[in-house]
């Protein structure tokens, strides 16, 4: 029991506590909306990290899973009134299925071949979404996009007029994925994925069914990403194939994870939070001059990569360790 009052436990707890309290101090729906988006992006980056970081498979097509989750849950919601809460599970499962479908043919692909194959798949999927206006009698909107019906305040259908519930929902999702990553990092599967990332042939020789491990990783990653898609659908309430399944979405997810530090538990979270806030700030502060804000954003990414090639996690890890040490020291002193 004593262990639980070490900084290693109470610092994260403190962080979570602060995150929980934020809505009490911020009333601006816009800021809450942005903060929900920030947490949401951190969540997506973490979900990607399962396959892109731990297993080292650079997927550049994760938008597909966001879209799958979003479309499946929204279609079920609009057509048979299925609550997106259930849609989350079904959307996630469908995304996971897609993850396996993409994962299977790409099993033998390594490195850049895999990365670019996922680009091809995602593009193909996006074009299909654009070209499909109906699935059976269900209207999907094609390129016109799909408007998620607005019910007003309907918590049972994941719709709220206030931003606070969205914020908490994003926070919960993020905590779940971080908890999962933390577990994964220490589990057999995590060890296996890391081994595959480092050297797939050697992993095979150690009895690892690399194909299965990769498919499990792909399915898990796609599942969580798909769940994120369901959230996105209810937050934005409009699904547009280019925006949701396009390269911008897919690349953004990867950006965040890598800038933060891929293959680590908290790297993608940090990347998601940092970059999203920076992107938002530059856009708001510099959108008078056409292009300026994205120019600055690009430059900032470039500088991050040059100066912190292993990810922003480096920036946070050391001071955090120091802080833990310091607090630890003080506790010991205090105890004596």
């Amino acid at each position: 029991m004593r262990n639980f009052i070490t900084p290693r436990y109470y610092l994260p707890a403190l962080m979570i506590f602060i995150l929980l309290l934020i809505p009490l101090f911020i009333s601006s729906p816009y800021i809450l909306h942005i903060m929900a988006m920030v947490l949401f992006w951190a969540y997506l980056a973490s979900a990607w990290n399962i396959v892109g970081g731990f297993a080292g498979q650079l997927s550049l097509g994760h938008g597909v899973y966001v879209a799958a989750g979003a479309y499946v849950s929204s279609l079920l919601f609009a057509n048979i009134g299925l609550s997106p809460w259930f849609g989350m599970i079904i959307g996630g499962l469908v995304a996971a299925l897609l993850g396996v479908i993409v994962g299977y043919p790409t099993l033998r692909l390594r490195g850049a071949y895999y990365a670019l194959a996922t680009v091809g798949f995602a593009e193909g999927f996006r074009v299909i979404l654009i070209n499909t206006t109906k699935i059976g009698s269900w209207h999907t909107g094609g390129a016109e996009g799909f408007l998620v019906p607005l019910l007003g305040d309907a918590p049972q259908h994941m719709q709220f007029m206030s931003k606070v519930p969205y914020y908490y929902l994003a926070l919960v999702l993020l905590l779940i994925i971080v908890g999962f990553s933390f577990w994964l990092d220490r589990s057999k599967l995590g060890y296996y994925l890391t081994a595959i990332r480092e050297d797939e042939d050697a992993a095979l020789a150690l009895g690892i069914n690399t194909a299965r491990a990769k498919l499990i990783a792909a399915a898990l990653s796609a599942f969580f990403t798909g769940v994120g898609g369901v959230y996105y659908a209810q937050l934005i309430r409009y699904l547009e194939p280019n925006a949701i399944a396009g390269a911008i979405m897919s690349n953004q997810i990867v950006f965040l994870a890598i800038v933060g530090g891929r293959g680590t538990v908290l790297g993608p979270v940090i990347g998601g939070i940092f970059l999203t806030i920076i992107g938002e700030m530059t856009r708001i502060l510099f959108d008078q001059v056409m292009g300026l804000h994205l120019f600055l954003y690009g430059i900032i990414v470039v500088l991050f990569v040059i100066f912190k090639p292993r990810g922003l996690i480096e920036l946070v890890e050391k001071p955090y360790e120091k802080l833990v040490k310091m607090l630890n020291g003080r506790r010991v002193e205090g105890a004596s």
Partner: protein, 293 residues
């Protein structure tokens, strides 16, 4: 007749795609970096070429003598001052993901810089031959595309000779196979990287120049071509120069001929999924070495 026309058009366009893919495959083969800024460089060259034509009346093909060296320099400096530090930090990594991300960041910065400075207009050099076509009975062959195709072939040939025959070309290939040992051969690896990136960028520039008489430049024009170039490079086999050209021709042909039998949007789907199916059979592309990866 229609099919013949579309075959010809597919081949002509395919050559240009191949030219663009060649630079991408070169950079990958030697530095193991997927260069996401390739499309942005294409765009920069198109815009430069346009302005040279617009202000000085310089024919785009003549502007090669100015733009190719300029693009080379741009690539050279980009590698020297941005990619090199990242690569140095990722020395023992097989695939420098950081460098990949860096090029993606650069792409965003370059595109938006051009947007800031030159605005978002759609620019095209309407040269005398821009709309011209050679008509043989009902067959018409677009002159600017023919020029572009011929240029692509010539450049591909010269470039291939350069890689195979010259000292520097050999050094570049050697560096691509093992950069650690290349050092021990007296090769200045970081300079070779800069040159490779410079040449890759210049190739993107050439693709831009041959496009500008019949295609519109704007800050995000790179996006129109880059995904195609990615697919082509993988199809041909990463790092394979002739693979890039053949891949370009294949994609050009499918795009053009298949569109006669289905809508143009479905050809896109066909291309992407045929590509995946192909990779299933041949995971390292047409001419890629499975030993490389």
């Amino acid at each position: 007749m229609g099919v013949l026309s579309s075959i010809i058009n597919g081949i002509l366009m395919g050559g240009v795609y191949g030219l663009l893919a060649m630079g991408l495959t070169l950079i990958f083969g030697i530095m193991k970096i997927i260069n996401f800024a390739h499309g942005a460089f294409l765009m920069v060259a198109m815009i430069l070429s346009y302005w040279l034509w617009k202000i000085m009346g310089l024919d785009p093909y003549l502007s090669i003598i100015i733009i190719a060296p300029l693009m080379f320099l741009l690539g050279y400096l980009t590698q020297r001052f941005t990619i090199k530090p990242v690569l140095d930090a990722e020395k023992d990594v097989r695939e420098p993901i950081g460098a990949l991300l860096l090029t993606a960041g650069l792409a965003v910065a370059i595109e938006n810089f051009i947007l800031m400075v030159f605005g978002a207009d759609y620019l095209m050099a309407k040269t005398a031959y821009s709309g011209a076509s050679i008509n043989i009975s009902s067959l018409s062959i677009s002159v600017p595309r023919l020029y572009a195709f011929v240029t692509s072939l010539v450049v591909a040939f010269l470039f291939y000779q350069f890689l195979i025959k010259t000292e520097l070309g050999r050094a570049m290939r050697a560096t691509g196979q093992d950069r650690g040992v290349a050092l021990l051969m007296g090769i200045n690896v970081s300079k070779v990287y800069s040159i490779a990136f410079g040449i890759g960028t210049a190739l993107a520039g050439l693709a831009g120049i041959v496009l500008i008489p019949f295609y519109y430049a704007h800050p995000s024009v790179g996006a129109v071509f880059i995904t195609k170039a990615f697919i082509i490079v993988v199809l041909g086999g990463l790092g394979s120069v002739h693979g890039a050209l053949v891949g370009g021709l294949i994609i050009g042909l499918i795009e053009s001929v298949a569109a006669q039998y289905m809508t143009a949007t479905w050809t896109a789907i066909l291309i992407y999924f045929a590509f995946l199916a192909f990779l299933l059979l041949k995971p390292s592309g047409l001419f890629g070495s499975r030993y490389e990866w």
